[in-house]
């Protein structure tokens, strides 16, 4: 066997052909950790978290509007905070510059 062949054999003998035990577990663990969440899923989750807060805020504002409502307003107008549509209000608009 010539020196070149021997060097080749040494290289083969000296090669390490595996990682430490549990390599596949480490890969799968890292994969699940780095697996990215799609944007649409992220937005959907954020939206669902905000829904109860948004509903509560809307209910509070509607209740405040109802308390401050004047006469001649429907309940829906009052809840939405819309001003009463009266002849006097129309004249007031006409007087504005």
């Amino acid at each position: 066997m010539n020196p070149e062949e021997k060097i080749g054999r040494m290289l083969e003998q000296g090669a390490v052909r595996s990682f430490g035990p549990g390599f596949a577990d480490r890969v799968m663990g890292r994969l699940s950790a780095t697996r990215s969440i799609p944007l649409s899923t992220g937005l959907e989750r954020s939206f669902l978290r905000l829904v109860p807060l948004a509903l509560a805020a809307a209910a509070v504002l509607a209740a405040l509007n109802l308390r401050q409502s004047g006469q001649g307003q429907t309940t829906v107008d009052a809840m939405l905070g819309l001003p009463a549509v009266t002849l006097a209000a129309a004249y007031e608009l006409g007087d504005q510059p």
Binding site: P3, E4, K6, I7, G8, R9, M10, L11, E12, Q13, G14, A15, V16, R17, S18, F19, G20, F23, A24, R26, V27, M28, R30, L31, S32, T34
Partner: protein, 196 residues
């Protein structure tokens, strides 16, 4: 999962998000990746990290892999590119911080005749010799000499012309002859023992 399941079937299942199929591919090809990565970087956490990253990148590219190259070749290419990047980082780090607890194994002195080196010692000697090679020569030696790929396959993984692979291999062998020659000559401590 049936061990006889073909790569194509496993790939299709992995593309559909079946982790068990991907894990099976990791089990099947981890030694291919390990030989490349550990050959380039030496054993240790660094190599393990690059090995994991190889499979993470492969998973991310599952949709793009259409089987133009063999799966082993494809994985070797990812592993080799990541290993070369790691070597660049390592050289930059070594340039900035000289570590005292990672002194390279010395192979300056030839071994004493009649003393048998154990497998671990062989690995240390070979490792030190490989570490002395530059990244270009090292990559050719790892693929051609350690992994046993053909020159054509080596050229395919490294994306190089055949002539370049051959000339790099010749230069790398000349360097290895200088460092490993004393061990490889007849009567040397590694003269005995079987191959792979």
């Amino acid at each position: 999962m049936d061990p006889g399941t073909t790569d194509d079937i496993l790939l299709e299942q992995a593309r559909r998000g079946e982790d068990a199929a991907f894990r099976h591919l990791v089990d099947r090809y981890h030694s291919v990746v390990a030989t490349t990565v550990v050959g380039m970087l030496g054993p240790g956490d660094d190599a393990d990290d690059v090995g994991q990253e190889t499979f993470i990148r492969f998973h991310a590219a599952l949709g793009q892999f259409r089987g133009e190259a063999a799966l082993g070749t494809y994985l070797r290419r990812i592993a080799m590119n990541l290993s070369l990047n790691a070597l660049k980082r390592r050289r930059w780090t070594a340039f900035r911080f000289v570590s005292r607890d990672q002194s390279p194994t010395s192979i300056d002195e030839p071994p004493v005749d009649g003393v048998d080196l154990e497998a671990a010692e062989t690995r240390a000697v070979v490792r030190a010799a490989i570490d002395r090679l530059g990244p270009k020569h090292r990559s050719v030696v790892v693929l051609r000499m350690i992994e046993g790929l053909s020159t054509k396959e080596t050229a395919e993984v490294l994306d190089l012309p055949l002539g370049t692979v051959l000339s790099r291999l010749a230069r790398a062998l000349a360097e290895l002859e200088t460092t490993l020659g004393p061990y490889a000559r007849d009567g040397g401590p590694l003269g005995g023992g079987g191959g792979r």
